[in-house]
């Protein structure tokens, strides 16, 4: 039973991380119907930002500021910078393609992904950069119940993930801004006709989505300790999967999808086989999709004929 709970905690933590990345991905999809394959690379940039913040304040072993402050700076800076990067990308690469066939921005997104990944390789080098989280966040200071351990980084990830997800859900559903975002998502031209500043709204969505990716990147750095230019690919893939399985464009769906994948991976590895874990997880997700073709929480497209 302890084993079960241990795998549960592990699954929830990675799942929360996937969910955050998926959330940003899904938001962007919501307003632009764009599969932003560069989303994972924004996450990678976020992880680098976190790493350089640690370096800037003296490195993991000799921090010159208190850890909470460090964390705040890391998250704020990653959110801001990566969010800004997202906005720039939207302005530069996606905006000219707003009215193009849907598949065109897909290739642009791949181009962006190539570009970001190799730019990181060029600027930061190929070697793995290491956070050394345990040196400044005591990994053993978490909660231990029986033989199940939840370390403090996992707690941080779970709590922050939850807060961000709920906050975003509130923002989209109950604020004027959220209403504008939903309006743009539903019918861009109609929204524009009402005076909604479509460019601003889309830029804002990109900012939020990318900032989430940045924050998730820092969390991944804290959790997995390492960052290199290629970590974005897998993260992007997981986000895409989570978003689609949950029902693409739906915020609770992205959360659910992320958690589901995290848990599935954890339990499949734990109880079945790590060798076939990806195959089995894929199989499971395919089964989910076949039962619910528009994702777990996605509404079946109401097609009025």
């Amino acid at each position: 039973m302890a084993f079960f709970f241990q795998e549960l905690v592990n699954g929830l933590t990675t799942g929360a991380l996937y969910a955050l990345v998926a959330l940003g991905f899904s938001m962007v999809y919501g307003v632009l119907k764009l599969l932003n394959f560069a989303h994972g690379d924004l996450y990678m940039v976020g992880a680098y930002v976190g790493f350089f913040v640690i370096q800037w304040f003296g490195g993991a072993t000799s921090l010159s500021i208190p850890v909470p402050l460090l964390l705040v700076i890391m998250f704020a800076l990653a959110a801001g910078l990566v969010g800004g990067l997202g906005v720039a990308i939207e302005r530069f690469a996606y905006r000219p393609l707003r009215d193009a066939p849907r598949i065109a921005p897909l290739i642009t997104a791949i181009g962006i992904s190539f570009f970001l990944e190799s730019a990181a390789l060029l600027l930061f080098g190929a070697q793995y950069r290491v956070y050394n989280t345990p040196d400044f966040i005591n990994a053993h200071s978490g909660i231990t119940i029986g033989s199940v351990t939840i370390n403090s980084v996992q707690i941080l990830v779970l709590v922050m993930g939850l807060i961000l997800m709920v906050g975003l859900q509130q923002l989209v559903n109950w604020t004027k801004l959220g209403r504008q975002m939903r309006a743009v998502a539903a019918d861009r031209e109609a929204a524009e006709m009402l005076g909604v500043n479509v460019n601003f709204t889309i830029a804002l969505t990109f900012f939020l989505g990318s900032a989430l990716a940045g924050v998730a990147g820092v969390m991944a750095g804290l959790l997995f300790n390492q960052v290199t230019s290629t970590i974005g690919f897998i993260a992007g893939l997981k986000a895409f999967t989570a978003a689609v399985v949950g029902g693409i464009g739906s915020i609770p769906g992205a959360m659910l999808g992320g958690l589901l994948i995290g848990l599935a991976e954890s339990f499949v590895t734990g109880y079945l086989s790590s060798t076939y874990s990806n195959l089995l997880v894929f199989g499971l997700l395919i089964a989910v999709m076949l039962v619910r073709p528009s994702g777990l929480l996605g509404q079946a497209q109401l097609q009025k004929v």
């Binding site: 390789l121 070697q127 793995y128 997995f224 230019s229 690919f233 734990g270």
Partner: protein, 365 residues
Amino acid sequence: SSSGSSSSASGGGGGSSTQACVASIGMEGPLTGPVANLGQEQLHFAQLAVSQDNTANKTKISIVQGDTQLNPAQATTVTQQFTSNSKIVAVAGPAGSQEVEAVGPLMARAGLPFITGSATAAALTTGKYPTFFRVVSKDSVQGPQDAKYIIDNLHPKALMIVDDQESYSTGLVAAMTPVFQAAGIKVDHESVSQKLTDFSSLVAKVTPSTSVVVLPWQVAANAQQFGRNLAQQHKKAVIFGTDGLFSPGTFSINGSYVSSFGPDITAIASDSAIAAQAKAKYGAFGTFGPPVFAATHVIDEAIASVCKAGQTPSRANVLAAIKKTDEPDSILGQPIKFDAHGDLVNGKFFLFKIDSAGKYQLTPG
């Protein structure tokens, strides 16, 4: 001044002929893509070797980069690029055994010598690729040796062995597993993708009786994370890693073992200059660079010796010179000499145990 020139008895000196000794070396490795960290390290050490040897030998050797992304099809294209470039007289690389399998025939047809610093599959040196050499030992030597060490010294009742779904890793696992099984040890064979960075769920599977986890991986940072996950879940198993895990500063889990085809060049007095230079120029490095340094150095010296003999450094001449290589010492802390199939004669292994400060201590074994 460096170990390279001081240790090389065969080459040395430099081209005394009036003509400058000009040639190019192709460098094949995963310079981008998922394991760019390995490829870039290899490239950096090749560049270091060439610049040192050029100064020492008064040669004008340059490097042509070929990015394979550890993908055999790309390696084929790169190799075609190299074989059609007549200036290229030898190749350092490619990195992976699959790639060697893919390009071996092309290299042979072009008479282009190639020396890898990391392809260790046993099947490569059965004589099918006459221009192939390697400065590292093969799996069939390292695997059983490591397994024997583990059995004799760590006495596990059960162990977990995790491959990373690359040819390097699966090769070693295939060589080790029978030895463990013959010794009656319960083996839990797992496998994870190199791209995975979270091992907590795998670590949860480490049972209390599992006292050793063997990680024949290429990405040291992943092993570090594995070790941390072990500690977080209060698991006591000892990590036994191979070559890729040799990476002081990155992999530093107290009490782990690393078996490596290269020594810790930072700890070898004669290598300290190179190590310092590499560190200053490119940052931290692991064990994938030094063998490529050695490979490149072998080529450099071969070219220099051809020039010195008054001949043009053609592929055939360089190939002949490489075959004759006999370095009493090298950056790898061992002599370099090839057998008829291109394997290193008497390839050595170095075993390190990591202490609580993260230092790699050479362990006799």
